[in-house]
Assembly symmetry: C2
Homo-oligomer: 201 residues x 2
């Protein structure tokens, strides 16, 4: 039986799929409704605007990435730096799977909207900013542990986590632009180097 | 006197400004014509489509970035690694200036379009991909020199240059999403660490 909750969820899922596959501007309310099998007249019963739907999509995608990627990569069955290395392996696996399914590296669902919309919509920019900041947290926690257990020297772990996640965004953008997930594997292997300066002469 | 060359250039400049400030999809032919002071009927005399105009904009912006940023940063008056450090300082200066002028960190004009359009337009994706690859070249040249003069150990300099430029894209995307150019300065200082692994236990 089709309920209101089903309809709202179908709109959310359709928007998540369509916006991730193309862009925020490319996907109009009509396209979302068509994909969800919902009449356009019903859309505004659930969401006051496409922007409100996009904010809900970002929350849903964030929760999904937390469950399927971050929580698994940063599970404490490995020492902290090995969890970060595992994150980059899982990131590669994820984007390889996405490309196998869709033909494309679709990029970071948060970075994509941040890149497209930050100058056009302050509410979307701020939402993406908060999600990227939150994504730094498991990196920072792992780094704190690595400092505590002597794997790393004392450092500003918040700044180091930010560098790791900025690098993540860069390699995923690069992989999208080259449509080649192998870049994530190749470049991801260098990520831990951002933590500690080498002793150059 | 207004000539055809002026009109074409005005369309190019208008599109460059408008697309960089918002996004490819957000800027239609009418808006470009209004900004350029050109009648819409004339547009298609100069460009068969908005996409063709965007390709010309990417070439023009690439040439501009080459002249104003890359060539200056990588001038041989400094040792090679210091040129890379200077690139990140100039990158910070550029985005600070852009924010002072517009109120926004506008991001990378190539990464923006790559991020927005790679799955929607193969010609635009390929153009951006080629520009990003070309941008790796001065990094690779500097790294080759640094290996030759003993500043760096022997390494795959092409791969290292790619990592540096991917990091560049990441920190610029991050700065756009936070609307804060200071991130480019803070995170840019770590870039050289991507070259050589530190000796961790």
């Amino acid at each position: 039986m089709d309920t209101s909750i089903d309809t709202r969820q179908r709109l959310l899922d359709a928007a998540q799929t369509l916006i991730y596959a193309s862009s925020y501007h490319d996907v109009g309310v009509q396209k979302i409704c068509d994909h969800a099998g919902v009449r356009k007249g019903s859309f505004y019963h659930f969401f006051p605007s496409k922007r409100e739907l996009a904010l809900a999509v970002l929350d849903q995608t964030h929760a999904l990435m937390q469950d399927t990627l971050l929580n698994k990569a940063f599970a404490p069955d490995l020492p902290p730096l090995a969890r970060i290395e595992r994150f980059f392996v899982f990131l590669y696996d994820f984007h390889t799977q996405v490309k196998n399914n869709s033909g494309y590296v679709l990029g970071c669902p948060f970075g994509n909207i941040g890149c497209e919309m930050s100058t056009q919509d302050e509410t979307l920019r701020s939402k993406v900013d908060n999600i990227l900041s939150a994504a730094e947290a498991p990196f920072a926690t792992a780094l704190d542990e690595a400092v505590a257990n002597g794997e790393l020297p004392a450092m500003d772990t918040a700044a180091a986590a930010r560098a790791l996640f900025a690098y993540t965004e860069g390699i995923v953008l690069y992989a999208k632009t080259r449509n080649d997930p192998e870049l994530i594997r190749d470049l991801g292997e260098r990520a831990l180097q951002l933590l500690v300066p080498a002793d150059l002469k």
